[in-house]
Symmetry: C2
Subunit: 410 residues, 2 copies
C-alpha cells in the first residue's frame, strides 16, 4: 500500500470512529479518558525507555522532547483533569419557538475528525487525545519525527484506554511514519475525512499549512505579544508585571516580546524594568537607549517572536501610538496595558483587536488552565471559530434541531 | 496600476474602514443601514435601467438577475429589517472571576474584513452590505459579471448611505471589473486583508474556492437535502410536507432533492406523494418504480442537487438505512423526518449530522428569516464557526478582555 492509500484508510477509520464517538454517552467517554491516564502510568517504563532513544538520536531542539518520571506523572494527571471537565456535548445553547410553532434548538455537537500536526512534544499526544475524546471527536495525530517513538509509546497507552472503555481504538490514530509526505496528505484533508486541522509548530510548519491546507485550520501562530506601560502605570506593578511577562517562561507563546513605554514615564520606569530583567538582552529604539544602555533595535525586532530572554523596547508618545504599533506588528495573540487610569485602560481594551487583551496583568496568563478551561491544546490566533485558548468546548460546533407538527413554509 | 495593485489598495482601505467600524457606535451603524435603504429607494430608476442593460446582454441563467420595482422595494425593505435587528456587538457572552481575582470577559466583536464572491444576484449586494454594517465588518464584494452593472448601481446607493451616516465609503467596496483574476486575488486574501471569504455560487465557483482559497471560508455549498418518510408517518402530513419541501421553490438550497420512504409504508405513501407533485419528475429505485411508475434512478441521482422539479425516490428498510444513506450522499445541509413515533424522530434528530435536522416540517424552512435571524447571506454547510443560516450574529467573533490588579503568573 502506498502512503496515500494508508492515510486514506486512516481517514475512513477516523470517520467511522467519529460517528461512534458522537453518540457515545458522556460516562463512556469519561471512562475512556480515565483509562488512558491509567495505561500511561502503567506504561511509564516503556515510555521513558523509548523517549531516551528518541532523545539520543534527535536532530532538533531538545528541551521539550525529554520526559522523566515527573513529566509522565504530570501527563497522566493532566488527562485526569480533562476527565473531570464538564462534558461540552449535548447542551442546548439556545432554544426558541417561532410564531408558526416550530421549536428550534441549537445543540452543541462534536466537529468530527480533527487532524493535529505537531513537532517534538510528546505531551501533546496525550493532551490532544484526552481533549478530543472529551469533546466527542476522532483524532489523527502526526508527531514530529524526533518524538515519534515517544508518541508511539504514549499512543499505545491511549488506544488501550479507549478499547478498555469500549470505544474504537481508531478514535485516536497516530501516523506511524516519519515520512514528511504524510503532512501534505493531511493538509489535503484525506479525501474529505478531516474536518479541522490544528498545526502546532514553528514558522516552517505554519507557512506550509498556510500555503497548502485545503481544509479549515485552527492556527496556533506566533505570539508577538506586547506589554504597554501607560504614563499612569504604578511603577512597582509595572516592574513586577514586565518581569513576569518576559522571564517567567521565555519559550511560551504568551511571553511578552516588545515593551512599549509612554515617553512621559519612560525615565522613571525603564531603569526599574532593567533591574527586574537580569540576564535579559534589551533592544531599544534610540530614545530608550538614551535612558538606559541597550542594543539598538532594528525594524525586524518589532516583528520578532524571540522565545528567548530578549526584549524589544520602544518609547512612544501615547496610547494612540501603542494601539497603532500593535496593529502594525502584533500577531493578534495577547497584549497587556499597565495603567492606573481606568479610561486609558478601557480604551486600550476596546481598541486592540487581539484574542486576549489584559489590564494590569501579565501576558503569561494566556493559557487555557489560567482561564479555567482545565486544559488546552493551543492558543488560536485566527479570528474564526475559536480564539484564544483551545480546550474541549472550542473543539465543538452546533446543529439546529427543529421539531414541528407538520408545518410547511408559506 | 495592475489589477493586483488595485485589489491590494482595496484590501488596505477595507482594513482601515474595519478599524473605524469596529468602534463605531451601534446608532451610527443603524443610521447608515437606514440611509442605505433610503438611497436605494431613491435610485430605483437608475437601478432598474442598469439592470435592464445587464439583462439584455447576460450570458448565464437569468431568473435571479432580473429586478423590477417590487424587487427593489423588497431589497430596501430587507435592509430596513436588518437596521432593526439587535446589535450583535459588544455583548459579554460570558464573564467570570478566577480565584486569583482576574476578571475575564468574553466579548463579541466583528470579524474584520469580509470578502464576498457571488454570481448574478443583484440583491446580494444590498443584503450583504446591510448585514456587514450591522455586524461591524468591512466588506469587499465581487459580483458576477452578468450583474456587475446592477451591482454598481446598488453599491453607489449603499456608499451614499454610509457617507451620509459619517462612516467611510470604503466600508463596502465593489470590485469594479468583470476580470475573473479578481476572484483569484480575493482567494489569496489580498495580502492578509481579508479575514473571511463567503462564496455564493455554483459548483465551478465552489470547487475553485476549495482549490485556491488561502483564507478561511464560510462555505455555502450544495444542499442535497433529504426528506425521510418513516413507517409511522401520518399520510396527509407526509404528502403536505413533501409537496412543500420539493415544489414550494425548487431553486433554493433547502429544497428536498431525495425522498426516502420506509418499505412498510411505501405502498400507502408513494401514491399520495405522486398526487401532490404535479409536474415533478420522479426518479426512483426499482422498488419505488414498482409501486408507482417513475424514471429509473441511477447512482448519480442520489448525489444530485437538481434545483429543478425532479425528485429522487428510494425505498429503504428502516431508520438505520435512512441515516446511512444521508451520511453517504448528503451534503450536511438540511434533512427532515416525517414520523408519528417520537422515539424514531428523536433517533433521527440525534444521528443525522447535518446543520439543520427537522421533525415533521418542511426542509424549505432552512432560512435565516424563518429561523428568526431577520436576514441571512447564506446557509453555511461547513462545521466551523457558523453552521446553518448566516446572519449578523454569525459574522462576529469574540475577544477575551481580562482586567487585573497587578496579577503575575506563578
Amino acid at each position: 500500500m502506498t502512503l496515500r492509500e494508508r492515510m486514506s484508510d486512516m481517514g475512513r477509520s477516523a470517520r467511522h470512529a467519529a460517528e461512534t464517538l458522537r453518540l457515545a454517552p458522556s460516562e463512556q467517554r469519561t471512562a475512556a479518558i480515565r483509562a488512558m491516564a491509567r495505561h500511561i502510568r502503567a506504561a511509564e517504563d516503556a515510555i521513558l525507555a523509548t523517549n531516551a532513544r528518541d532523545f539520543a538520536v534527535a536532530t532538533g531542539r531538545h528541551d521539550r522532547l525529554a520526559l522523566d518520571p515527573a513529566r509522565v506523572a504530570a501527563m497522566a494527571a493532566g488527562i485526569d483533569v480533562v476527565a473531570d471537565l464538564p462534558d461540552p456535548l449535548g447542551h442546548e445553547l439556545a432554544r426558541w419557538t417561532r410564531p408558526n410553532g416550530l421549536d428550534i434548538a441549537r445543540v452543541r455537537s462534536p466537529i468530527g475528525v480533527i487532524g493535529m500536526i505537531y513537532e517534538a512534544r510528546p505531551g501533546v499526544t496525550a493532551d490532544a487525545a484526552a481533549i478530543a475524546v472529551r469533546s466527542g471527536n476522532a483524532l489523527i495525530l502526526r508527531s514530529g519525527s524526533d518524538a515519534l517513538g515517544s508518541a508511539r509509546a504514549i499512543h499505545r497507552a491511549v488506544a488501550a484506554g479507549l478499547v478498555e472503555a469500549g470505544l474504537p481504538a481508531e478514535t485516536v490514530q497516530l501516523v506511524d511514519t516519519p515520512d514528511r509526505d504524510a503532512v501534505g496528505l493531511m493538509l489535503e484533508g484525506l479525501d474529505g475525512a478531516i474536518d479541522l486541522l490544528i498545526p502546532r509548530g514553528g514558522r516552517a510548519l505554519v507557512e506550509r499549512v498556510q500555503r497548502e491546507a485545503r481544509v479549515p485550520t485552527l492556527g496556533h501562530l506566533e505570539g508577538n505579544c506586547h506589554t504597554y506601560l501607560h504614563a499612569s502605570a504604578d511603577p512597582a506593578m509595572a516592574a513586577s508585571i514586565v518581569a513576569n511577562a518576559k522571564l517567567r517562561r521565555v519559550g511560551i507563546c504568551g511571553a511578552t516580546e516588545t515593551l512599549l513605554v509612554d515617553r512621559a514615564a519612560a525615565p522613571d520606569l525603564l531603569p526599574l524594568v532593567v533591574d527586574v530583567l537580569p540576564g535579559c538582552e534589551l533592544r531599544g529604539d534610540a530614545e530608550a537607549a538614551g535612558i538606559v544602555p541597550m542594543t539598538p533595535a532594528t525594524e525586524a525586532d518589532w516583528s520578532t517572536e524571540y522565545l528567548a530572554p530578549v526584549l524589544a523596547v520602544r518609547v512612544i508618545t501615547d496610547l494612540d501610538e501603542a494601539v497603532a504599533h500593535i496593529a502594525r506588528y502584533g500577531t493578534g495573540h495577547t497584549e497587556a496595558i499597565v495603567a492606573d487610569d481606568p479610561a486609558a485602560a478601557e480604551a486600550f481594551l476596546a481598541r486592540v483587536d487581539s484574542a486576549i487583551v489584559l489590564w494590569n496583568a501579565s501576558t503569561q496568563f494566556a493559557d487555557g488552565g489560567e482561564f479555567g478551561f482545565g486544559a488546552e491544546i493551543g492558543i488560536a490566533t485566527g479570528k474564526l471559530h475559536a480564539r484564544g485558548p483551545v480546550g474541549p468546548e472550542q473543539l465543538t460546533t452546533f446543529r439546529y434541531v427543529v421539531r414541528g407538527t407538520g408545518q410547511v413554509r408559506p
